[in-house]
């Protein structure tokens, strides 16, 4: 989605000094793009994500059924002209439901990623730029959150509050910003002593501009990679929570609750299509995010030499 947009902002990585940067801006970007597109898996991932995301966006036009319409006569009906991918245990059309489920799953994934990344970037920048006791306090908070096996906290929080989509997004964000914060902070620590930052400080630019205008763009590479991988992880976590009975309440469809509804010995043995399709959907989506994330990592990392 907004990867391209974000990529525009990618400035040269730290090894290149400020002066050289200006002149080579375009070429750096094109090198990154070139590296990315050389990676076959990353390209496959990008194509698949494009298809999956558009299918979710265009769900209302692509769906053949109301995703929540039950039809007790069609219980676990096999794939047919009527139900392309079969029907679930309440006779709902799996194909249509999967399209709408995609909206919810991707929304949860993206929204949680954006929130977590925002928190992480802000905290990491502040800690890294100011250092001292601010850094000390913020990093202890990170240490504390990172120490909890996050599934324990997730289960506790979600079982205590009602698992609505917004709730899940908030909880995911609160528990997942720490990685980004650490990345950004360490980039800041190494960047803030560099010439271009010192120059900006000497010129008396306001701190906010230095942080967000000068240092951050240089640290954005690893953040984008982490964010891409995080979406996949959120989708998996959502499905795991559903499996444990703590996911988004029915009848709202998510890939996670569709898959976990089908996790039943009898269903596996008699209606293979029900667990298969939502499972594949999660699998392919997460796989694609990983491909893209890995491709971005290589492309954005100057140390990875071209083939």
């Amino acid at each position: 989605m907004d990867e391209n947009q974000m990529k525009q902002e990618v400035k040269p990585p730290p090894q290149v000094t400020g002066a050289e940067t200006l002149g080579k801006h375009e070429s750096m970007l094109s090198i990154i793009l070139k590296k990315f597109f050389q990676n076959k898996l990353a390209v496959i991932g990008l194509i698949m994500l494009t298809i999956i995301i558009s299918s979710a966006i265009f769900a209302p036009w692509l769906a053949t059924h109301d995703p929540n319409a039950t039809s007790t006569l069609d219980r676990l009906a096999p794939p047919s002209a009527e139900n392309w991918l079969g029907a679930d245990h309440l006779g709902r059309d799996i194909y249509s439901r999967m399209l709408y489920a995609g909206q919810m799953s991707l929304w949860v994934g993206f929204a949680a990623m954006l929130s977590a990344t925002t928190i992480g970037v802000v905290v990491g920048s502040v800690a890294g730029y100011f250092g001292g006791w601010i850094d000390g306090v913020l990093m202890r908070v990170v240490d504390i959150i990172i120490s909890f096996p996050s599934i324990f906290l997730l289960i506790t929080i979600v079982s205590v509050f009602r698992p609505s989509p917004e709730m899940l997004i908030i909880v995911f964000a609160i528990l997942s910003w720490t990685g980004t914060a650490r990345i950004v902070r360490s980039e800041f620590l190494s960047l803030k002593k560099r010439e271009f930052v010192l120059a900006a400080q000497t010129l008396g630019l306001p701190k906010r501009r230095i942080i967000f205008g000068h240092i951050l763009p240089n640290a954005i590479g690893p953040v984008i990679v982490a964010a891409t991988l995080a979406i996949g992880a959120f989708i998996i976590t959502e499905s795991t929570l559903s499996f444990l009975g703590l996911g988004i309440s029915p009848p709202t469809a998510t890939w996670g609750n569709m898959l976990s509804d089908s996790q039943d010995l009898t269903v596996f043995l008699t209606a293979w299509y029900y667990p298969l399709f939502p499972g594949l959907m999660i699998f392919i989506t997460v796989l694609s995010f990983n491909f893209v994330g890995d491709g971005l990592r290589d492309a954005l990392d100057p140390r990875v030499v071209e083939k």
Binding site: T70, P251, T266
Partner: protein, 562 residues
Amino acid sequence: MGKKAYWLFLSMVLALGLVLTACNGGGEDVDTEGGDDADPAGEDEGEDAAEDENGEAAGEPQEGGEIIIGQPGEPNNLHSAYASDTQSTDIVRMIHAGVLRYNEDMEMEPDVAAEMPEVSEDGLTYTIELRDDVYFHDGEQLTADDVVFTYEVFLDDDYTGNRITQFDRVDHIEATDEFEVTIELSEPDAALEASALGFEIMPEHILGDVAADEQEDHEFSTSDAVVGAGPLQLAEWDHGTSLTLEAHDEYHGEGPYLDTVTLRLAEDANAILAMLQAGEVDHANIRPQDLETAEAIDGVTVVAETGYNYNYIGWNHDRPPFDDPGVRRAMTMAIDREAIIDGVLQGHAEIAHFPHHPMSWAYSDDIEEVPYDPEGAVELLEEAGFEQNEEGQMEYEGEPFSFELLTNQESHARVDWVVVVQDMLADIGIDVQTDTMEFGAYLDRIQPPNWDFDAIAGAWSLGIDPDPEPLWHSDNYEQGQNNIHYNSEEFDELAEDNRSFVDQDERAEAIQAAYAQVTEDQAYTFMYYPDIHQAHIDEIQGFQMSPRGDYFRIEEWWVEEE
């Protein structure tokens, strides 16, 4: 596996477990053990004909052998006065023995008692003769003192368990002889035998010096230190893994034939089914949707019974429009219960019209059955002032008819039918939001003092005594189980003091009249009585099943050696 893994609660059993818990949370006095010595309401129609499996035909019981049972969750307490969830009560019934016990027809019969209690003319004095051949697992004899001791726990001011109402008409209890107990009541209580006298007897020689409120946490109640007079004794409790029970050689009744019964803990219904299929367990409860899978396993027989519980939708009578009986009736008419039973439960349930179980002596066929009739429902709603707008949306003075239907997530079947109900009501233009909550949070929202719901989808596990007051008497609103606030003077009058009718026919009449009022007012929309299923390997003989879905008369099961 079951997504609502919880385990605890996946399956039907699990559902059942919850139901019971619901009752506990809701006070087991509706429910609880015990029945009444009355004529049975007849056999239920368990499908899948497993009757022929029932022992006798296969020859003489053989001593010895062991079986492994898939047990959906760990018991919490082994003291009869404190056990409240199904996992616990099922196991308590194997380890301990009560004065009376229920039989397969849900009637009471003597267990530790030599015969049914002798009741005085005025219904105020119960004299119980005990058998003189009953021994606890440690060899001590069970006497009248143990019975008095056990019942007095319930009467103790310090008693912290849930069952107080069962004993609220008991004035005092006395051991009038070594094997004779006399109970004096303050007013007649027709429910006494089916409720109070069903509680299992605890050994005074072990717990006699322990204060009533400390017995709950005592190692007796929470470990394999437990001692009872039941057919099986707890030999080992490997927490999280299994409980091993061994035969009590001096058991006073028939059996036990099995040497060892191992309860293998598996909270997940899928895991239990897989174990059954892989031959790792010999007996298990089966969810309706797994029936075909279980029946297809070689060497396994599945037995069915109508469960002693029902599912319902409770309408909050304090929130318009559900204060209007016409609207509630319209809701019932708009819901195709037959389709729900066929689709969600694969036909393994029976529509409920009556607020108690068909097997109970208080049941009557002569009760109004509200049919599925969506057009009729629309008409009723129009009479109540609703109208459908151009888009088919039901409106009341311009406001769309919209409400929230709340349920707990642990019962798969219920979560599923709630979604179907939502869809059915949408067909007549009613917008239903559903919310599925974790059980504790759910109870907290619906019970006093919060009453924060429009409608709830729930289930009650039924008591053998059919007293209608706890659920519907208006006195039980502020505290009690009438959380929907059914407030009918007619009902209150009809139901009051049904417990005082010593004559069962008179009492049945009073109860039926009260229940007819509940049905007329559609205080609940009664959904169905689900079937329960248990599977066991063919080698198990003498198998019996009760509508409770517990390990009924396990002392009479035996294993056929090849």
